[in-house]
């Protein structure tokens, strides 16, 4: 309720001196199933805005966040985005987690030419002029992870169980992974693809299938299992006697925030692929983590200073600064003028220096593979060489498509 009064406080500021603030929207679910993940993003965006305001704001004005709750209801995302853009007149929106919510608001942003900053790893196959995708594209997460597992150092795994929650990200991810594995000569029968519904809780059968699959050795799981299904999955995995040694799980949707206060004992040794971890050793990250914890504690948010940062949190935070820097470079919040400033924009993010692609709306960033520790943090066991360029259209599944806003106005065919 602390932040609620604050929101109201801000609305009053809005009516009295609306000229002096720049409004941005925050469109993350605060209730419903996605709240688990999205609330942290809302928190970190508010923190970034507070930081910016404390250091003088943007273009000399304070930034004001307009928070709405799309309540994990996809249609409400569209409704709320209209409201933010049309009624609340925000200059940009930070929001969305699931791809379906992004798809839902996309026509709205395109119709009204506003900008959505989307911080979550996603399946690609999209190249909108009105979305800034700071999360990983498949080639910035999936492919390096699979390559790593196949490598000698990664364990030389030969059999892959692709397990996901049944929705578009896992499906597309697995489509790309499968194409990749097949292209690397992994025989078809060594790849199994399986999906479970959202909130699936009973992994007994699937784990025993995996166990059978792993009986020959050299098998691993590539998991795009989402949200609250992960705990039952990992618990069952360990209880049926499987371990990271026998068959590691490489997760694409399990980050520190999900591990927070999970019983991590049985997760130790399993892997994940992201572009950022809280355990990154750098001064900027140390500060970021400390700031976030302090912020949560100060605001009395659930979890307080026990809160952790993770990949989407890092990029949601980065998004706010990307927006700020572009606006300041352009000297205006006008989308047409500030968007060009984003191309090639560099920023020292908590995850190290990153760079907006010079031609499209994705971020160039490093890929990291981490091993889960018993404290819910990751040991970084592999790191890409420098920044990896984004490929919104995977070379494996859409070989002749590419995304270029500078010279092609979006998606174009290579040939």
């Amino acid at each position: 309720s602390g932040s609620e009064t604050k929101t109201e406080g801000e609305t009053t500021t809005d009516s009295t001196k609306s000229e002096e603030t720049i409004k941005v929207g925050i469109l993350h679910s605060l209730s419903g199933t996605m709240a688990i993940s999205e609330v942290s993003l809302k928190d970190v965006i508010e923190m970034a805005i507070e930081e910016i305001n404390n250091s003088g704001g943007v273009l000399g004005k304070k930034v004001e966040a307009v928070i709405v709750d799309p309540a994990s209801d996809w249609d409400l995302f569209a409704e709320k985005s209209k409201e933010l853009i049309l009624d609340k007149k925000v200059t940009a929106v930070f929001g969305c987690w699931t791809s379906v919510s992004r798809k839902s608001v996309l026509p709205v942003f395109e119709e009204h030419n506003n900008l959505l900053f989307y911080p979550v790893q996603y399946e690609g196959e999209e190249c909108s002029a009105n979305v800034i995708y700071s999360g990983a594209t498949p080639n910035q997460q999936l492919i390096p992870a699979a390559e790593y597992l196949m490598s000698e150092k990664g364990g030389g795994y030969k059999k892959f169980y692709l397990l996901g929650t049944d929705y578009v990200f896992p499906r597309t991810a697995n489509k790309i992974l499968k194409a990749f594995l097949l292209s690397k000569g992994v025989p078809k029968e060594n790849i199994i693809e399986e999906y479970t519904p959202f909130h699936h809780q009973d992994y007994q059968t699937i784990v025993s299938k995996i166990k059978k699959f792993a009986a020959g050795g050299k098998a691993c799981v590539l998991s795009t299992v989402n949200g609250d299904s992960n705990v039952p999955f990992y618990k069952e995995f360990s209880n049926q006697g499987l371990t990271a040694g026998i068959c590691p799980i490489m997760a694409f949707s399990v980050a520190e925030d999900e591990l927070r206060s999970m019983d991590t004992e049985f997760l130790v040794g399993h892997l994940a692929a992201w572009n950022y971890y809280q355990s990154l050793e750098s001064p900027e990250n140390k500060k970021f983590v400390a700031d976030f914890k302090a912020y949560c504690a100060k605001k009395g948010l659930p979890g307080g200073d026990k809160r952790v940062t993770d990949d989407p949190i890092c990029w949601a935070y980065t998004d706010v600064y990307l927006w700020k820097n572009a606006v300041e470079k352009a000297g205006t919040t006008d989308i047409a003028k500030m968007r060009p400033e984003l191309y090639g924009l560099e920023f020292l993010s908590p995850g190290g220096p990153v760079k907006m692609s010079p031609i499209n709306h994705h971020l160039e960033k490093p890929v990291l593979i981490g091993e889960i520790r018993s404290d819910g943090q990751f040991d970084i066991i592999w790191k890409s060489n420098g920044l990896v360029s984004p490929e919104p259209w995977s070379k494996l599944t859409s070989p002749n498509k590419s995304c270029d806003h500078v010279s092609h106005g979006g998606t174009y065919n290579l040939k």
Partner: protein
């Protein structure tokens, strides 16, 4: 005795005065935003679905927890049409999501949706026939009460799971989106939005009158009798299965009409609209407005959805409390829902004023 307060006229005055006259004119004059117009346009669609729920549940006592499925069937049919009209990046006109899934021929069941007429027809027929088949088996074997509620819920769950799949070729979790025009009108133009708003209103109003006629006919009385005692209706020589089936199909088609109007105004249709919760919510609108009162169904749907929109923006962290407590309080204090409350007020005011006038004449 003179009536000082007439809830009936109030209903019509507000409905027509505010929604059909003030709001559209306001929009044209620019003091009602386009967003408000499309918001209410969508609420009308929900109100349409609520009418169906009231028919099947309020009057016939059949708690169907799958109305959102029918709503979506109608919605998907129109969405498929609009998507085909919009075309994709692929020159073949196949929707993009199929291209990305390496589907290069349009699945046969999509073909009829090129034509608006056929799509319109199918949008009514598919839910109608689906409701007929499902209803036939369910009612024939005399599944009723909580059994029926749960079985329809199971149906909703199963349909939701199926629509979530990519194999269904309906866009999986992401659903269908990216519409541009409907019958040649650009969906993004304010006049189309206003047009859709007015059409939705008129359809809602028309269906309201239709349902009113229906429940006041002898057919409606049979429905209420079925709600009271199904077997007694049989002994009175009415074929209960036929009646239930008829009202189930009507409710499904009504819901589908709501869905058809909903999609062009929302711009997306996803399986999220038909999950278990969605159908339960429809029942809740009716319960809150006043079950067994068609006006209640409309008021309930409009009110709850309006509150939902407002509260999720104004009280993003506490709106659930507000809505939850509202449900509880309504139930505790207004036995017959929101419309029941208004009727009660009507009685109070009228009896007060009539006693007053009596005492006046006496003195």
């Amino acid at each position: 005795m003179k009536k000082y307060f007439n809830s009936n006229s109030l209903f019509y005055i507000i409905l027509i005065g505010v929604f059909l006259i003030i709001m559209p004119i306001g929009n044209m004059l620019g003091f009602v935003s386009n967003n408000t117009i499309s918001l209410w346009g969508r609420y009308f669609c929900f109100a349409i679905a609520a009418l169906g729920v009231d028919l099947i549940w309020g009057y016939s006592g059949v708690l169907s927890m799958c109305q959102a499925v029918f709503f979506c069937l109608g919605g998907y049919a129109i969405a498929m049409h609009m998507l085909l009209v919009a075309g994709g990046e692929d020159p073949s006109g196949i929707p993009d999501f199929m291209v990305w899934n390496q589907v290069d021929v349009l699945p046969a069941f999509w073909i009829p949706f090129h034509s608006f007429g056929l799509s319109f027809l199918l949008a009514l027929l598919i839910p109608g026939i689906f409701a007929f088949i499902f209803g036939y088996f369910v009612f024939r074997s005399r599944i009723k009460g909580v059994y029926l509620a749960i079985i329809t819920q199971a149906l909703a769950l199963a349909m939701w799971l199926i629509f979530l799949r990519n194999e269904t070729m309906l866009g999986g979790t992401n659903g269908l989106t990216g519409f541009k025009t409907l019958l040649g009108f650009s969906l993004s133009s304010p006049s189309t939005k206003l047009g859709l708003y007015i059409v939705s209103f008129l359809v809602m109003f028309g269906l309201f009158l239709f349902c009113k006629w229906l429940v006041n006919s002898k057919f409606g009385k049979v429905l209420v009798a079925i709600r009271d005692s199904e077997s007694r209706v049989s002994y009175t020589a009415y074929n209960v299965v036929n009646y239930k089936l008829a009202v189930f199909v009507i409710a499904a088609v009504v819901a589908a009409i709501g869905g058809m109007l909903y999609v062009p105004q929302t711009g997306i249709i996803t399986p999220g609209r038909m999950d278990v919760k969605a159908s339960v919510e429809m029942v809740m609108w009716v319960a809150l407005g006043g079950r067994g009162r068609l006006k209640g169904a409309i008021i309930g749907a409009l009110l709850v959805n309006y509150l939902y929109s407002v509260c999720t923006s104004m009280f993003p962290e506490s709106w659930l409390y507000i809505l939850g407590v509202l449900f509880i309080l309504t139930v505790l204090f207004f036995e017959k829902g929101f419309w029941g409350l208004i009727e009660m007020l009507e009685n109070k005011i009228n009896s007060l004023s009539s006693t007053k006038s009596v005492s006046n004449t006496n003195s």
